[in-house]
Amino acid sequence: MESLDWGQLPQQLVNGLQLGAIYALIALGYTMVYGVLKLINFAHGDVYMVGMYLAYYTAMQWFNREAMNPYVLLFLMLIISMVGCALLGLLIERVAYRPLRNAPRISVLITAIGVSLLLEHGGLLVFKTSPPPSIAQDVNVFSQTMDIFGVAVTQSRLVVFGVTVVLMFLLWYFVTQTQTGRAMRAVSHDFNTAALMGVNVSRIIGITFIIGSALAGAGGMMNATALGTPLTTFAGLLPGVKAFVAAVLGGIGNIPGAVVGGFIMGIAENLVVWGGLGGYKDAVAFVILIIILLLRPGGLFGSPVDKV
């Protein structure tokens, strides 16, 4: 192993932020669902995968048609992914999770794993997977690279970063400042009491799933467009788990925490590669997870609790 190349550190940190933005976007959905339902929605990563596919099929449908402004196309892809994923999220909640509302948490978790496997393997029948398709580079109108103080920054990834931060603030505003958001926090705090106080719990949970899944859809669309990720039905598995780690890292249920957690994860992964241990990149997320669970199970910004 050679010595570290400190000159590359700024670039690696920026790379980390860019990668982290993607994790953060998925982590927001995780954190919302967990915050309200206390459920690790394992299928969340697969909803993200569906979002990538929806974006791909939209792009295939309208790309290279005349009278289609590329910016409009991107917007359309974003909307279709978000709406499609929101509907899927709602469907999953209604069919798989709602009947188990009063079941032990483990049962719900196993169901979530089952739904995740079902989306991955059932998706093979529905989506084009062989060979894995990807969104054409020309769809991405923000593909130029800028040079900022010697650090290369791709425009599209800057957009992803910006959108993530904006969405985080919107979400934070929604949860803390609006009536529905207050209801959401009430449900998160105490299910039964909230119901007694006149909060329509089912509706709130539905809204949570809609928002969380829509965010995953947005993440999927932006990721697939910006990176040219080849799409397989398993593409959501690892990003999903890593995003969950990001959510735990930031303190699950905590919206800014999820985003910060995502950034830390992205930077950590980049630093591992920078240190010459590229083969262990995927293990970092889990190492971070285990360390954080042992030292501060509530996460960086969560309330410290003794046991989780």
């Binding site: 190349d5 590359q8 990668l19 062989s130 894995p132 593909s143 690279t145 040219g228 990720t229 590229g278």
Partner: protein, 398 residues
């Protein structure tokens, strides 16, 4: 202990599971037990194992189609004096342990006389061990790992080895592209990629070049900026990506975005048109080593591509279509020449294959049971791959 609780749910699900197994359409089973493979009117049974599921599906599916096409043509032309050949296909799901059971199933249940496949070395390894132990010849379709054919005298292959492929690309990079400082990106999850990188490193260094960096990722990763940033710092003039096209595409895009302006070079894992889509402008001008190309100007290639199109509606998407076809051709030719129709005689006939006209070039089985064929370097253009140069067969001892 079964206590007095309602057991209905249990019975229900057990019944469901059993109904699932029973659901095997009874008419689909064979007519009461195994049929012997001996009678002169019965078809000659050969087997094929392929990754029809999982991450290697694009290649596995093509290899199956190619082999099926060859068998169909053989039967349409009258078979072996009127006796047909039946190809039984089993899925390996891209997993070695499934490859083993698939092969055992073919050998023991279907009593095949020879086996074709697999496209990946890691899956061919256990399959070949099974075949060697049973004394049934196996012709690997896309297993390029060097030591596969060292398992025994019943193991052959229709493709070139990594020893040749890696050395050919190293030679091409050094001599034709004039590269001297090359960085490598290796997929740590794929034995194919790690093996190819090793050979390339050895060969390139033996020609006098330098490997300035080797970075790693895992198949399924999406972001490679960290590795590329490291590589950029080493200031190379070439980038060798030994992985599959799934990751090479995004690598190419991100390489360009980072301003790492080097020539990209790779192995036959690049071989899919999707690479052009996922790689965008970043991949254009890259070179990779392949077994043949659909647009090559040879009769065999033209006929094959035409027949393939007619049968399946599109051109073979990867070279495994042609290699599957060639592997089946070698086997069918051997069946024709064999003294008797049994595994031993077929093996002996395969080992004496000489100058058979195949899609991927003239097929001869060498003393090490490998096919000795040239490699074709393809250049990635905006719309398609284009043959750039043929590298004749040579022996590189790594």
């Amino acid at each position: 202990m079964f206590h007095r609780t309602r057991f209905s749910g249990g019975a229900l699900l057990a019944a469901a599971a059993l109904a699932g197994i029973l659901g095997c359409n009874p008419t689909g089973g064979s007519n009461g037990g195994k049929t012997a493979n001996g009678g002169s009117e019965d078809p000659i049974k050969i087997g094929l194992i392929a990754s029809l599921n999982g991450e290697l599906k694009p290649w596995g599916e093509d290899s199956m189609r190619g082999a099926q096409l060859a068998v169909k043509e053989f039967n349409d032309a009258g078979g072996l004096n009127g006796r047909k050949v039946e190809l039984i296909v089993e899925d390996t799901a891209s997993r070695p342990e499934q490859g083993k059971t698939a092969t055992e199933k073919l050998l023991n249940e279907d009593q095949v006389l020879a086996v074709l496949g697999e496209v990946a070395s890691g899956i061919t390894q256990p399959a070949a061990e099974v075949c060697q132990a049973a004394g049934v010849p196996i012709i690997a379709i896309g297993a390029t790992r060097v030591d596969i054919t060292e398992i025994g005298e019943y193991v052959f292959r229709a493709c070139f080895t990594d020893n040749f492929q890696g050395a050919a690309m190293a030679k091409f990079a050094y001599e034709d592209l004039g590269l001297r400082r090359v960085a490598m990106l290796t997929d740590k999850k794929q034995p194919y990629s790690t093996g190819l990188s090793d050979i390339f490193r050895k060969a390139f260094e033996s020609f006098g070049g330098t490997i300035v960096a080797e970075e790693f990722y895992e198949g399924g990763n999406i972001d490679f900026q960290a590795q590329l940033t490291n590589i950029k710092a080493k200031n190379p003039d070439g980038l060798f990506c030994s992985g599959y096209f799934n990751e090479v595409g995004p690598i190419a895009r991100q390489r360009e975005a980072l301003g790492l302006n080097v020539k990209m070079v790779g192995g036959d894992g690049w071989d899919s048109r999707e690479l052009i889509q996922s790689g965008g402008t970043g991949i254009i001008g890259g070179f990779f080593c392949n077994h043949y190309h659909n647009s090559e100007d040879r009769d065999e290639v033209r006929n094959f591509v035409e027949a393939f199109k007619k049968e399946y509606g599109n051109e073979p998407a990867t070279a495994m279509g042609a290699l599957g076809y060639d592997a089946a051709t070698i086997l069918l030719d051997a069946i024709k020449r064999a003294e008797k129709i049994d595994s031993k005689s077929i093996r002996d006939a395969i080992s004496t294959t000489k100058d058979l006209k195949g899609v991927s070039g003239s097929l001869s089985i060498g003393p090490d049971r490998n096919a000795q064929k040239p490699a074709l370097v393809l250049e990635v253009k905006k719309d398609d791959f284009e043959p750039y140069k043929q590298v004749p067969f040579f022996v590189f001892e790594g």
